[in-house]
């Protein structure tokens, strides 16, 4: 009996001692992990950067928006820098261009080596885009951004929002989404014939964030289409966004350069982007009445 007792005591003590050592050992990696996690979090909170991330349509490359960015930079003191990322088929990223250090609103274009059309491909491209987005968010630690998609680029955005965005939504806010000539129902001009993709988008619409502003811009070369995408296919976006996001606004531009492929160079479109997508913070750098800095001083 006595032997048994001793055995039991040591078992108890062993467990206590073991736990104690385990806790100490555990606390060391935990300490470093928690420090770096909180550091990351702090950098993200402090970050002033709010990039505009652009996805071109099918068959287009990362150079697709060069002219658009030129036009946007033309009459403004605040020049936006341009970073271009091409995602290869195996998910590796190829960078060109750069973000200027003091640029709080850079443009980032994400294009794909495989830039073909079709729903199956859009799913793949959304996956590739997610790779790029994960790296970007790691590297630049922005806490909000604006999204722009031309043609199928808008479809990739929609798919990504429904499938992948939840992974980031705690830390990164998507403020606005503008799609340009995006065929939500592909080339189908009759809304009663919903494609598999549109059905999927409608089925998962609840995953799209509620505080998002969505602008859907279509081109009108004639009364039915922009020469490529039927107007009703663009308009089908309402079944996805309306009554889910904060505001869903549709606009149609006509006149010169209203053809599907010319839309990104259209002067009206450039105006719309300036007015609705970009921050209109010309006065941001000049404090209006000095309230903000004083508040900061007090805290110090």
């Amino acid at each position: 009996m006595n032997m048994l007792n001793k055995d039991r005591i040591s078992k108890n003590r062993l467990l206590l001692l073991g736990t104690f050592i385990f806790l100490i050992v555990l606390s060391i990696p935990t300490f470093f992990w928690i420090k770096s996690a909180n550091h990351d979090l702090a950098e993200r909170r402090k970050s002033q950067m709010s990039p505009v991330i652009m996805i071109p349509g099918s068959s287009a490359t990362t150079e697709r928006f060069n002219e658009l960015v030129n036009l946007l930079n033309k009459d403004t003191l605040k020049k936006h820098s341009l970073l271009k990322i091409q995602v290869k088929k195996d998910g590796t990223l190829k960078y060109s261009g750069k973000i200027n250090r003091n640029d709080n609103e850079p443009f980032i274009v994400v294009g794909f080596e495989n830039n073909h059309d079709g729903y199956a491909n859009i799913k793949k491209q959304a996956g590739w885009f997610d790779e790029a987005f994960a790296q970007l968010s790691q590297q630049y630690k922005f806490n909000n951004f604006k999204a722009f998609g031309h043609s199928n680029g808008g479809l990739i955005w929609t798919y990504w929002l429904e499938k992948y965005y939840a992974d980031y939504s705690d830390e990164i806010k998507i403020k606005k989404l503008m799609t340009l000539g995006t065929p939500y129902n592909f080339n189908e001009s009759n809304v009663d014939h919903k494609t598999e993709m549109l059905n999927d988008f409608i089925k998962n619409r609840k995953k799209i964030p509620k505080n998002l502003d969505v602008y859907s811009v279509s081109g009108g070369e004639n009364y039915e289409s922009d020469g490529l995408v039927p107007e009703s296919s663009v308009a089908a976006g309402k079944y996805i966004f309306q009554n889910q996001v904060k505001h869903y606004t549709t606009m149609t531009v006509t006149g010169s350069d209203a053809q599907h492929s010319s839309l990104p160079q259209n002067k009206q479109v450039v105006q719309l982007i300036k007015q609705y997508l970009l921050e209109n913070n010309s006065g941001n750098n000049i404090p209006v009445n000095g309230q903000k800095p004083r508040e900061n001083n007090k805290k110090k």
Binding site: N5, R8, K11, N12, L15, S27, T30, I34, K46
Partner: protein, 439 residues
């Protein structure tokens, strides 16, 4: 003084209700211990947001299939065991009550189980004629409810049943006799169960219960300051000690309130949590200093037992439920020691966490430790919680260690008495067993 407490406790534990509770808890101990081990694996190891899976970078090297399969397996075992816990509680509680009064125990157990199911049945929810139950009433968090139904069933058998002594070998004739004899008490049980069930459906007990729980939940989400939080916490801990766990779970779940976010934002922009705008958020104080692994300082009780009790089955249960409790899954200890409905643990279980929180709040007030404002991953070992919630602040770690030691010292005399009480009761039970039938 000590003698008076000792005598009162022993007398209390000799009451029929507590004797039945004791035996029921004993039989349920293996279920609770296994359940809590799986809950620990589920929430603290195979959860993507847990500390262990993060610091060992499971997402880098452990294949998704294995990780997900383990998650599902552990989640399933935990949910099934704890989700149906009430059934077994009702069974054993009815059985031991009937046995105490020398009635047919097995039939009583079955009746008790069915009575519980009748009470939990959704009489007005008969879509497609599928069985539909209020699973919440069968959950381990409604333990007291099932225990009382079982006890009531046993009492019905006491008054309406015929005397019966269990034998080792039964003839078919005896079995037939048993079956016929059990008609009366069984029907009475079900009738009462049916009435309770239908009444519960009619007066929307479910809604009342839901509102009651939701009250705690919304209060918890508001993340009140200490003054309002502490009375609620005391009530929730008392209910938890009785075996109604849901209010405490709801009260202490919320972490994303506006006050917490404001604290976190402040801490992140200023690099520390020394001067956060809301330093006395009730729930974050409870998580950091009122728990130390397991609600009501369960871990401290276990350490007291392991230090003090050498040769006892209690020590074995304490060892088995130690690691899960360290990570916050304390059902094994609550049922196995037992702490639930054990009069001796009532006061410390309820009040010691609050004492801890007040001490910590005063330390924050005199700026010896910072407030807990940072995010903490699930499955963080209790004693390290404050350290992590202050972004690795050494003062907070040292203070929580001192507080922890202080709690253990306070608990030691209680653990010692718990052992004496248990010995005394075992002795009395043995004496009884000497002259009674097979029990």
């Amino acid at each position: 003084m000590e003698k008076i407490i000792f005598k009162t406790i022993v007398r209390l534990r000799r009451l029929a209700f507590f004797r039945v509770t004791d035996r029921t808890l004993m039989m349920l101990m293996p279920l609770a211990v296994v359940g809590s081990i799986f809950q620990f694996l589920w929430q603290s190891v195979f959860s993507p947001t847990s500390l262990i899976s993060n610091i060992f970078y499971f997402d880098k090297w452990l294949p998704d299939q294995i990780f997900n399969a383990s998650w599902y397996a552990c989640q399933g075992v935990t949910s099934v065991i704890f989700g149906t816990f009430g059934l077994f509680t009702a069974y054993f509680s009815a059985q031991y009550t009937a046995r105490l009064y020398q009635k047919d125990a097995q039939m009583a157990g079955v009746s008790g189980m069915l009575a519980l199911l009748l009470c939990a049945y959704r009489f007005r929810d008969i879509r497609d004629f599928q069985l539909s139950f209020n699973w919440r009433f069968l959950n381990i968090n409604s333990f007291l409810f099932a225990l009382l139904i079982g006890f009531g069933t046993g009492l019905i058998f006491r008054f309406l049943g015929t005397d019966y002594h269990h034998r080792h070998a039964e003839s078919a004739q005896v079995i037939k006799q048993r079956a016929f004899n059990s008609f009366r008490p069984m029907l009475a049980t079900w009738l009462i169960g049916l009435v309770i069930g239908i009444l519960a459906s009619l007066v929307h007990v479910r809604m009342i219960a839901t509102n009651f729980y939701q009250f705690f939940q919304s209060q918890g989400q508001n993340n009140l300051n200490l003054g309002i939080f502490i009375p609620l916490l005391l009530l929730a801990l008392l209910l938890n000690w009785c075996g109604i766990g849901q209010p405490l779970v709801s009260l202490t779940a919320g972490g994303d309130s506006a006050t917490n976010v404001a604290n976190l934002n402040y801490a992140l922009t200023h690099g520390s949590s020394w001067n956060v705008p809301n330093p006395y958020v009730g729930n974050s104080l409870y998580q950091s200093y009122g728990k130390f692994g397991g609600n009501g300082l369960t871990l401290v009780i276990l350490i007291g037992i392991l230090i003090f009790i050498k040769k006892n089955d209690i020590a074995r249960v304490a060892r088995w439920s130690f690691i899960p409790t360290l990570f916050g899954s304390n059902q094994g200890a609550l049922i196995g020691i037992p702490i639930i409905l054990n009069p001796l643990f009532l006061l410390p279980y309820i009040f010691l966490p609050v004492v801890n929180m007040l001490l910590a709040a005063s330390m924050i007030a005199i700026h010896l430790i910072p407030a807990s404002a940072y995010n903490v991953l699930s499955g963080t070992p209790g004693p390290l919680y404050a350290f992590i919630a202050t972004n690795g602040n050494w003062q907070a770690l040292i203070f929580s260690m001192l507080l922890f030691a202080f709690d253990i010292l306070l608990y030691l005399p209680i653990v010692k008495m718990a052992k004496d009480v248990q010995d005394e009761i075992d002795l009395l039970n043995d004496e009884e067993a000497g002259y009674e039938y097979v029990k």
